[in-house]
């Protein structure tokens, strides 16, 4: 029984909801010119039909609440249900953004604490919670770097260095900020190629964007040396917080020499990813970048009251990133999570995320799988390369990924970082149990055995999901992006 679209279940004239208010008796007339002539093609379904449809659709998803989800670089760990309850408190959820701060002291107290905690955790000088996702945090970071150079009259610096294994958002962000991107290669040991770095640095260097542990799952051991070199060349260092879970409460980006960073609260601080957001991309800076922080930010007055700092309070700010104060409902979840973990719980995250990754790596190696950097410790994640399986069995990383779905395990991140052939980036996170890790190993071994018996069978996976492999070429060549009423052309 295929799920029909909600539109296909609709019938014109159906009015089976108690959801709409009563039609007012007297509606002021809108001038004819402004009026909509035809009703929008929204579905007319009963309340039960809507509830049933979306309840059933939800069941088609893999999610943390239902499946192991070792998606590398995404930190898919348990999202505590208590955090959702906190953000749903009517006093928080129903507050208008432009209501006076007298009505928001409770919410602001939480955000102010979160700012302070994130500053302490990262070893930086100050924190703004304004960015609505990691990519916006990155934008902030690069914009602040550029503002700092501009503030010193240093207008020629418009080059951002990025390791070749970096997340795609890094170069995209640099471009958004009007910078050019220069890629730095990764050395054979997984660390950045220091020679290439030194070569790239110069009077046009605005800064470098890095994550540490890096996207290949290892800790950049010479990070202090890199920081010194970049700073000596007049550039600043940006820390991409995507991998912070690996070192949370153990190592502080501020101590490594970074000037600015973002945190993905929907990764490290366990706010839910919601099938694609909302996230939050808190930005932390060293003292020298503080004047450029985006607005608003929560400040505590000498009398203990909280208020929003606005453009007037921060004349050098890079500006405003959203109409209001950011994804506050997400921030409240991160506040609750951090408050539950506490000082002693934060390093435990890093410890057990690292333990799980290294255990899984060791077991897979023992089973004969090849990891990308066998001489290195895994951080919270590691890269497996299936190039020999691809060569010998004709079964690729993609095929393994799809076959894992049939085992009830979400696929790891595939084909990233791009420099490693046939790779899977595997991040188990600290909230998964030993039993889940062992089940993953068993599944990988079973898939390899199946591939030895019948590679075609594995190439056809998945078989047990709501759909089999989808025709992505067709999706892109003949884009069908919206349902239309029968025979209706594009509007």
């Amino acid at each position: 029984t295929d799920p029909m679209l909600i539109f296909e279940q609709a019938r014109e004239g159906r009015r089976a909801a108690a959801q709409a208010p009563e039609r007012p008796t007297r509606v002021p007339a809108l001038p004819e010119a402004f009026r909509r002539r035809k009703r929008p093609a929204l579905p007319e379904v009963s309340e039960l039909q809507a509830v049933r449809h979306y309840t059933r659709l939800s069941q088609l998803n893999f999610s943390i609440d239902t499946h192991f989800y070792p998606l590398g670089s995404c930190t898919m760990k348990y999202n505590p249900r208590g955090c959702h309850a906190v953000a749903s408190e009517p006093g928080f959820a129903e507050r208008h953004p432009l209501a006076p701060s007298t009505t928001g002291q409770g919410m602001m107290a939480c955000l102010h604490e979160l700012q302070d905690w994130l500053t302490a955790i990262t070893g930086m000088g100050d924190t703004s919670l304004a960015a609505m996702a990691g990519a916006q945090g990155e934008f902030c970071g690069v914009a602040m770097i550029m503002a700092w150079h501009a503030g010193r009259g240093d207008h020629q610096r418009n080059e951002i260095l990025v390791p070749d294994a970096a997340h795609g958002t890094n170069p995209a962000t640099a471009a958004l900020c009007g910078c050019t991107v220069r890629e730095i290669p990764t050395g054979p040991d997984g660390d950045v190629d220091m020679g290439a770095l030194h070569e790239a640095l110069g009077p046009r260097t605005a800064g470098i964007m890095l994550t540490n542990p890096s996207t290949v799952g290892v800790f950049e051991r010479r990070i202090r040396e890199m920081a010194d070199a970049v700073h000596a060349a007049g550039g600043l260092l940006y820390y991409d917080g995507a991998n912070l879970n690996a070192i949370l409460g153990r190592v502080r980006p501020g101590d490594m020499g970074f000037d600015v960073m973002h945190l993905n609260l929907h990764k490290t601080f366990s706010t839910p990813h919601g099938g694609g957001g909302p996230g939050a991309g808190a930005v932390c800076v060293s003292e020298r970048l503080r004047p450029y922080l985006p607005v608003p930010q929560v400040a505590r007055e000498p009398d203990g009251r909280f208020r929003w700092l606005q453009e007037g309070d921060r004349p050098h700010t890079i500006g405003r990133l959203s109409a209001f104060g950011g994804n506050i409902g997400v921030l409240l979840r991160a506040w609750a999570y951090t408050r539950m973990l506490g000082r002693e719980g934060l390093p435990r995250v890093a410890d057990y995320a690292t333990l799980n990754a290294n255990y899984l790596m060791a077991r897979l190696q023992a089973e004969g799988f090849q990891v990308a950097y066998p001489e290195r410790r895994a951080s919270h994640e590691f890269v497996l390369t299936l190039k020999s399986e691809a060569r010998e069995l004709g079964v690729t990383a993609l095929d393994f990924s799809k076959a894992l779905l049939d085992h009830g395990i979400h696929a790891p991140t595939m084909y990233f970082p791009m420099l490693i052939p046939e790779c899977l980036l595997i991040e188990p996170t600290e909230t998964e149990s030993l039993a889940e890790l062992d089940a993953f190993v068993a599944a990988m071994v079973a898939i390899r055995e199946a591939a030895r018996r019948d590679p075609e069978q594995v190439r056809g996976a998945p078989y047990r999901l709501p759909v089999r492999r989808l025709d992505e070429v067709r999706a892109a060549r003949q884009p069908d992006l919206a349902w239309r009423p029968e025979a209706a052309p594009d509007p």
Binding site: R14, A17, Q19, R23, P28, R39, P40, P43, L60, Y78, H84, E89, F92, A93, H96, P97, P100, Q105, G106, A135, M146, H167, T169, A172, A175, G178, I247, R250, R252, D255, P272, G274, G276, G277, G319, R320, L321, A323, F324, L332, R339, L341, G345, D351, L355, N356, N358, Y359, A362, H410, S433, L434, L465, P466, R469, L470, E472, R474, P479, L481
Partner: protein, 460 residues
């Protein structure tokens, strides 16, 4: 150890498999100088019970008075089913649907979302959401500049009647790319752009932003302006309220050809206000602009067996493929909010959405009628308004709002900072959540405030 499932025996076994003795050994590649003690600035951990109690106490102190605030964020009724379903773990705790076969739930919901937003705005293609209305407006402007390619003037026309906070976000996001924002004046008597607003604009421009209704609640002459802008080769971007679209002509039908792009804030569609976020931005466009769209897109296709299914598509626009040449750096969007909006629109349907819009329209007009019946309060603008309106008081607004707060009323948004030319202007709004009793209470409270506090502060 909250959230960490390992028993001591398991940890021992795991360390043995790895071949180290202590957990600390796993960090041996990290230079010792970099290792830090647990962050002293963070308090000790607390159980869920204690954290929820703190939160509850704080949230209780934030309980809201009766609000007549709109100004870009609206208090609407949210059917109970919306969040009881959107918060289901399968939606709430899933990642971006990269593995399509394991994400058909989210993918089909987003496809339906795209279809609904496309239907509402009258434009063929919708993306899967952006951060908020302001960033969606910025992305729309960037789309227009990209679309004009070699012809691009790197200049966008921004009416003074566009939300002031949106204008600030536009500056933040567009300035680094060297795009110039030209402010268009409005008629402070009517409250909207003059029909000939573009005549005074010399030189080329890539896009005209057209808010409908505008920040002052007034309807803009969108047909004339769309024609005028398109005649000069520019794109027209409608910045619209999705609830109002139940009654207002959709951007896709403005002028002759229709606007090219529509965008706006989706919060009114079933999302709690939450001090302004998370909501979501929506962005729709004509089909020829499809490849300029930023953000995720879900498409319908078939699987190996020919069965219909859904997948992320046209990813060549995106940062994880195109990196520095992507249409945007956006990655995570506001998926769960889009899910909630889809539920909201399905539960209400076209008839329900019309009712909500009609109620907003009727209640705001009733509010204006009630308040302008008081001496010292008048309607400030003559243009037709939808579900917000500007009042002019005979004294400064701020102290009046503060006095109303003592009556448990949030009386609206003070416009004097952003629109000083309007005098003592107050933007008010009444959605379907404000009934006759609320309106009467506002009137009586305002009457009391105006009588008992005769202009204590001299006008600036």
């Amino acid at each position: 150890m909250p959230f960490i499932p390992h028993t001591e025996a398991e940890v021992r076994r795991m360390l043995e498999v790895i071949g180290v003795r202590h957990l600390d050994a796993l960090f041996d590649e990290i230079p010792a100088a970099l290792r830090a003690p647990p962050p002293q600035g963070v308090p000790e951990g607390l159980p869920e019970m204690a954290v929820r109690r703190i939160a509850r106490r704080r949230a209780a102190q934030d309980r809201q008075p009766v609000s007549f605030l709109g100004a870009g964020c609206y208090e609407h009724h949210i059917p109970a089913a919306v969040w009881q379903i959107a918060a289901r773990g399968e939606f709430y705790s899933a990642y971006t649907p990269y593995q399509a076969e394991a994400s058909q739930g989210t993918l089909q919901v987003i496809y339906e979302f795209q279809s609904m937003l496309s239907a509402l705005t009258g434009l063929a293609v919708s993306n899967a959401s952006l951060y908020d209305g302001a960033t969606a407006t910025a992305e729309a402007a960037l789309m227009a500049v990209r679309q004009r390619r070699r012809d691009a003037a790197h200049r966008v026309l921004v009416p003074h009647t566009l939300h002031p906070l949106y204008r600030r976000v536009l500056s933040t996001l567009l300035a680094p790319q060297g795009i110039e924002l030209t402010l268009l004046d409005y008629d402070p008597d009517q409250g909207h752009l003059p029909e000939h607003a573009l005549e005074g604009v010399s030189g080329g421009f890539d896009a005209l932003l057209l808010p409908q209704p505008n920040f002052l609640g007034v309807l803009e002459p969108v047909d004339t302006l769309t024609r005028a802008a398109q005649a000069r080769g520019a794109l027209v971007i409608g910045v619209v309220n999705p609830i109002a679209l139940a009654r207002l002509a959709p951007p896709g039908e403005w002028g002759e050809a229709g606007a090219d792009i529509a965008c706006g804030e989706g919060q009114p569609l079933g999302i709690p206000m939450s001090s302004g976020g998370p909501g979501f931005g929506f962005l729709t466009c004509r089909r020829p602009l499809m490849r300029q769209l930023p953000g995720r897109l879900v498409g319908r296709t078939v699987d190996l067996d020919g069965k219909p299914g859904y997948t992320l598509t046209l990813q060549a626009r995106e940062q994880h493929i195109r990196r520095g040449r992507a249409t945007s750096n956006i990655c995570t969007n506001q998926g769960l909010m889009a899910t909630a909006a889809t539920l909201y629109l399905a539960l209400l349907g076209p008839d329900g959405l019309e009712r909500v819009a009609d109620c907003c329209l009727a209640r705001t007009h009733a509010l204006v009628e009630a308040l302008t019946g008081l001496p010292g309060v008048q309607s400030a603008l003559r243009g037709p308004h939808f579900h917000e309106a500007v009042l002019r008081l005979d004294r400064p607004v701020a102290p009046v709002l503060q006095a109303l707060e003592d009556h448990g009323i949030l009386g609206g948004h003070d416009l004097s900072a952003d629109y000083p030319e309007l005098g003592n202007a107050l933007l008010v709004c009444a959605t379907e959540m404000r009934d006759e009793v609320d309106i009467e209470y506002y009137r009586d409270s305002l009457a009391a405030v105006l009588n008992t506090r005769p202009d204590p502060v001299p006008s600036p």
